[in-house]
Subunit: 343 residues, 2 copies
């Protein structure tokens, strides 16, 4: 059996495979929008000069697409349009999210809207979403229709992701939310696109329904595990790692999983927490007290269990079907890597 | 030969055919987004109560899709998912445009963002765009792939429309633009989606490439004619008809076709016009003078000729191919109707 590659190798390989296609795709944008997109993807600076060593994310989504292609027995190249499509949709949502949240910085750089204005940022995001569909639909010929199936999967995931974002925004004006609604929001916001990514390569490879559905389930569960870890880091994460102040989600009054679970506990600590969270601006001491209260109410434990349980469910899903063994091991490693951030 | 239907009959029939499917599509949006979309489409008021007699547009795009389906010899019903897709994309762009232009009213009602905020309006528009793709891709089965071809046509047109909007926004900061660039912007902003609408039904009907391409050409030319008329009305339109103050595009410093052509004339009148347009706020007398100058520089004549020429080209395109005679006549009538607004 061929030895499996390490996670950094898998990520680097997916990036090397998909980056040229992604750059080609961005090159098709109009001259007014291309600089904004290339800047956002870290390929150019704000004056349009090319930048070496792009400042982008880890490319987990692209790696999932590539691995799912190989899991279904097809060459990695078959999945490249899928990797491009998923990255375009992910970044469309980031550009719009930054406008919606009024965030001026992402990955230590000014956001698109803060440089070019809200109108151009909206349009640039829209263009990435339309382009993602085009890229997948162009892969079809008279004899293959896997691109259409992939485009459909991506459009559905995009719709679920947007519904999750809308629910997240609605939570802001509620005093508390129950844990199930919070999980359903996170399934949309994070799970849907990861589920799509983890099955899109297999769809492009023409895999059977049981294979694509198991891979999708793997991705959705992984997305929920990832989001639970993100929620833990949003309260207890090391600022030197997260780039955000400690207790950031508490400061921003976000209704994440540990906070929702703590508020739902209904005891005296939960009451004190609810009262604290009504304060507009929280002092450092209040943030620390709120974090302690979330822990006392069992919010930290619940989110930790959620992360572990979802990771186990993701790995289980991979075991349910017949796929390429090496890809299964590499997908499992990626899943453990994504969840294994310090929390 | 079956007598052709009048334009109002054709529009009403397309609306009757596509409205239930459009409402079903909107019903699939999440509970947080559905009220915004139904309000925008005039199906509900801002508190979510159903409204009788929807306050929507004339539905020209849906009618073009339905007629192009019949032109290709298929029953009108085959084109319904296309009519829904085109209306969803058109309205996605309207919701985002209103945010970008800070317009507080559309069709005498408050815009989505002015009621629900910028963030929710962005998300609601995004949701319509993703939904449009889903609707078309769902029409395919194991034996038909016309939905994928239609989805591709729609994604391409959406990309061109967005590129046109981006160019339009870039024009705002330029003192003058040449007529060709202005026309290329209008081909994107208005022509692309009308071209898609006029061919989408034929694509769903599985028509041959010459037929779909002639119908697309018809729609693109019609879009350019329509936009030229819109530009004329933006300066000389009767406020009681347009719902906007006289000389509105001049007040808003828009670079529409007659204005671009006038500024490009390069004579003394053009110089006076350019100087006038540097004024931040224009008095009524200045707006009237600017309109006179646009006319003296030949801008009104050029846009009028453009509207007539593009209408003729649209009708020519219809004559190029073998399509159902009745549909050809009805498409011609729709084209004349769209362009025949007072100017």
């Amino acid at each position: 059996m061929i030895p499996i590659r390490s996670v950094p190798e898998v990520l680097a390989r997916a990036r090397d495979l998909s980056s040229p296609a992604l750059e080609d795709a961005l090159g098709r944008l109009s001259p007014e929008l291309r600089p904004l997109a290339e800047y956002h993807f870290g390929l150019a600076d704000e004056s349009g000069r090319r930048v070496d060593g792009a400042v982008t994310g880890k490319g987990v989504r692209a790696a999932l697409v590539v691995l799912s292609t190989e899991a279904a027995g097809a060459p990695a190249e078959t999945g490249v349009p899928g990797a491009v499509g998923v990255e375009l949709v992910h970044n469309f949502s980031l550009i719009h999210d930054d406008v919606i949240d009024c965030d001026r910085e992402r990955r230590h750089r000014p956001t698109v809207w803060s440089l070019w204005g809200i109108g151009r940022a909206i349009i640039a995001g829209d263009a990435l979403l339309a382009l993602a569909q085009q890229i997948l639909l162009e892969t079809d010929s008279a004899v293959t229709t896997t691109g259409a199936a992939a485009a459909r999967c991506l459009a559905e995931a995009t719709g679920e992701m947007i519904a999750g974002q809308a629910l997240d925004m609605a939570f802001e004006s509620l005093p508390g939310i129950d844990v199930d609604r919070c999980l359903s929001m996170e399934a949309g916001k994070t799970g849907a696109l990861l589920g799509c990514a983890a099955s899109l390569g297999a769809i492009l490879a023409g895999a059977s329904a049981p294979v694509t559905s198991a891979l999708k389930d793997f991705g959705v569960q992984l997305g929920l595990a990832f989001q639970a870890v993100d929620d833990l880091l949003g309260i207890w994460g090391d600022p030197s790692q997260t780039g955000k102040p400690i207790g950031n989600d508490i400061r921003q009054h976000k209704k994440t999983l540990p906070i929702a679970a703590a508020l739902a506990a209904g005891d005296g600590y939960a009451g004190e927490l609810a009262e604290l969270l009504t304060h507009e601006d929280l002092a450092d001491g209040e943030v620390a007290r709120a974090a302690t209260l979330v822990e006392k109410c069992g919010g930290r434990m619940l989110a930790t269990d959620e992360a572990k349980g979802r990771l186990a469910a993701a790995l289980d899903a991979l075991g349910r079907v017949q796929i390429d063994e090496r890809s299964r091991d590499e997908l499992s490693d990626i899943a453990r890597f994504v969840v294994a951030r310090e929390f």
